[in-house]
Symmetry: C2
Subunit: 434 residues, 2 copies
């Protein structure tokens, strides 16, 4: 007996790093993918900007569409793989058109999901078309599947992660070499670890997109990018990294979402973690996600968050799911399910310890003025480091607080930075237990 | 509009730690599970040894069957949850009867899967009945789903894991306290971390069961428990743990399966890992699995490997998959798929560095005799530690080799242990790069 099930025919939009990686992966592991999918998975049509470019693989047996939207109407295409990127068109229009035409969509587009995930999920539900996005968060780590299926019996209470390899590479390398941010950023750009315009990575928006997606899955709530508090890593000085090491911490850009007192706290910011915390040990371009569930306790997943191979691996996992008709609602639960709506918590309500670095004039009374500013706002100190003296230049004073409400910390910093002896904008970094 | 989809009705066999945990989990998270499963999941019938025992939850609305096989014929039961355990009957007969009756089965039974997985998979395929076993390996870590679905586009090349929390607890605590094996084992038994008869855990069989399952999934081969080389942790002395620390290693009981030169190497044994290796940092009752794929690179998953909550969490993940009709062949690929058969590699073909501890009489010429035994078999040394002198008692000599074929190492040890100055059975521990 010979089985000859119908192949799953893909229309692929975008032939950049990930699109090229997908073409190569489907070719390299075809027998294995066919066995796991129960049928062959083939690219029958593509769309990209430049047809002539040599990508190292043949497009001879593939239909070329100059307009990606034509992939949707191509009768030889069963499923759209959207690897164009960006929350706007043509990516958005392509995904909308595909779902409206009842064609399944697999995408790596975190911006699109984070910004338009609600309406796209509604469209997918209306037309009963799968929309899968394992590749949108943490590259090769199967975190979407883990949250949406593997841990689905849990009420998750917290999720935190290193979700941007560019930032983690920069912070790791700054620490290893004691070098300034700008120098390591420039090097990361040369190595291809950072974009020419690095702002989406280093200002935290990319991490916020991914966190918004993870929080929606973890807490069974509609995706809510606007509720995520976002700070990037531009202000992190080599000095802060050195002090962090001295104090027993690592600085990581984390996305953190927690259920606290019936609200969801979601924030992206540089974070000091104890050196022995699991996420503190995740270095270089690696990503990791720590999930906490009421049944399972802590689960950590770690792996490569970007790159052709890892991201294509995630795309293929989605393709195999769809090939086998393993379908899940976009956000993991039925749109009509009466899950309790959980409101967001404002960042001002956050409570935790803080690291505060001030650059001050080395004059009598400086420390008294600073500590008065903290005391006036009810902020108590756990540690203070002051070393080095300079008659002319600013000297650093580092303070670590006990647990403090964010609004109190902000009021204290606001008061302190008005002091004439405080010479630069203070650096404030939240500390997490890990 | 009100949705009222039919509930998924469970027949639950076994009301021990995991069965009780499942009852509590289904009750505690019912709204969330209903939303994620698309329909309610209810236990309608149970079978356990002792009906009268107070388990802390009510069985009033549940049918009691004294014989677990009667769950299969109960018309109010859609799916069998097998939490009896053990490779023999009644667990085996129950799973066979359920599959033959086309009722889906969810089980946490690693022994059953490892020993009878081939025939059960064939039975499941013949009757088109799902057989799911996320809870069989690494408790709450969704590793089955990760390998079978999340990383399904990869040719995996290696998988290694800390798969037995009892052993990891014992080894971790031995190191932290410098205490002997027997003392910590007794304590683990008092704490409930080890069974009254601990042999399945500490002699490595439990880890071998889990490794056989993971290897089958990772490499697309029928499960082959007989091909797994198994050594336990009984012979690990507090002295070895102290030496490991001194040499920059941690000792872990690992299950390791690798594709090497077209063969599958599968082995369970105490392993020295560099302190900074990801698996070396997994402590106490935690489990972890490191998978290496050709596309994704290294992926690590870590979490609780046992206990009511984590294991029930894994069972519910399987239940939700089946409730949503997300089905996967038992070993991840179609039984008829023509994947290339990969033969097992014998342990003698293993190549790696070794740690060797000898207890010797402190006499002139001892070291010369030992090193001659190594030289005669082509084993070269990277390091030797000899300290402490004793006219009467045996003194330890520790040797670390360069990369050595296992058969050469065995020949050398066999020669050395015949020396009259070698007073105890040598301890040999394989070293892995991590």
């Amino acid at each position: 007996m010979t089985l000859s099930p119908a192949p799953l025919r893909l229309g692929l939009a975008g032939l950049g790093t990930v699109g090229g990686g997908l073409m190569r992966l489907l070719a390299a592991n075809a027998p294995l993918i066919t066995a796991r999918a129960g049928r062959p998975i083939l690219v029958t049509a593509v769309s990209a900007r430049d047809r002539a470019r040599d990508r190292g693989f043949s497009l001879d047996h593939v239909t070329w569409h100059q307009n990606p939207l034509d992939l949707v109407t191509d009768p030889e295409v069963d499923l759209i793989v959207e690897l164009i990127g960006g929350a706007g068109n043509p990516a958005r229009a392509l995904v909308q058109a595909a779902l409206a035409a009842r064609k399944p969509v697999v995408t790596a587009n975190k911006a699109l999901l984070a910004e338009h995930g609600r309406s796209l999920a509604a469209l997918a539900a209306t037309h009963n078309a799968p929309l899968a996005y394992e590749a949108a968060v943490a590259g090769g780590i199967p975190i979407i599947k883990a949250l949406r299926e593997g841990l689905a019996g849990n009420q998750l209470t917290a999720i935190s992660g290193i979700l941007n390899g560019t930032c983690n590479y920069i912070l790791t390398t700054m620490r290893e070499r004691g070098s300034p941010f700008a120098e390591i950023l420039a090097e990361a750009q040369r190595l291809g670890y950072a974009e020419t315009d690095p702002s989406a990575d280093i200002d935290g928006l990319d991490t916020a997109h991914k966190l918004a997606i993870l929080a929606a899955l973890a807490f069974g709530q509609p995706v809510d990018l606007a509720a995520v508090h976002v700070e990037g890593i531009r202000a992190i000085d080599a000095l802060d990294i050195a002090y962090a090491t001295e104090l027993g911490y690592r600085i990581k850009l984390l996305g953190i979402a927690r259920l606290i007192d019936g609200k969801i706290e979601a924030r992206v910011h540089p974070t000091m973690l104890p050196t022995e915390a699991p996420l503190a040990m995740v270095e270089g371009v690696y990503n990791a996600v720590l999930a906490v569930g009421d049944q399972v306790g802590r689960v950590l997943l770690e792996g490569r968050g970007a790159g052709a191979g890892p991201t294509a691996s995630a795309v293929v996992a989605d393709l195999i799911d769809i090939a086998r008709n393993r379908l899940t609602p976009v956000w993991g639960y039925d749109a009509l399910a009466n899950l309790t709506a959980t409101p967001p918590a404002p960042i001002g309500a956050h409570v935790g310890p803080y690291y505060l670095r001030l650059m001050v004039a080395d004059q009598p009374g400086v420390i008294a003025d600073i500590t008065a500013g903290l005391r006036d706002n009810g902020v108590s100190l756990e540690a203070m480091l002051q070393r080095g003296r300079s008659r002319n230049a600013a000297v650093p004073v580092v303070l670590v607080t006990h647990e403090t409400p964010e609004h109190a910390m902000r009021a204290a910093v606001s008061q302190i930075q008005k002091l004439p002896t405080v010479l630069e904008t203070p650096t404030v970094i939240r500390i997490e237990p890990g």
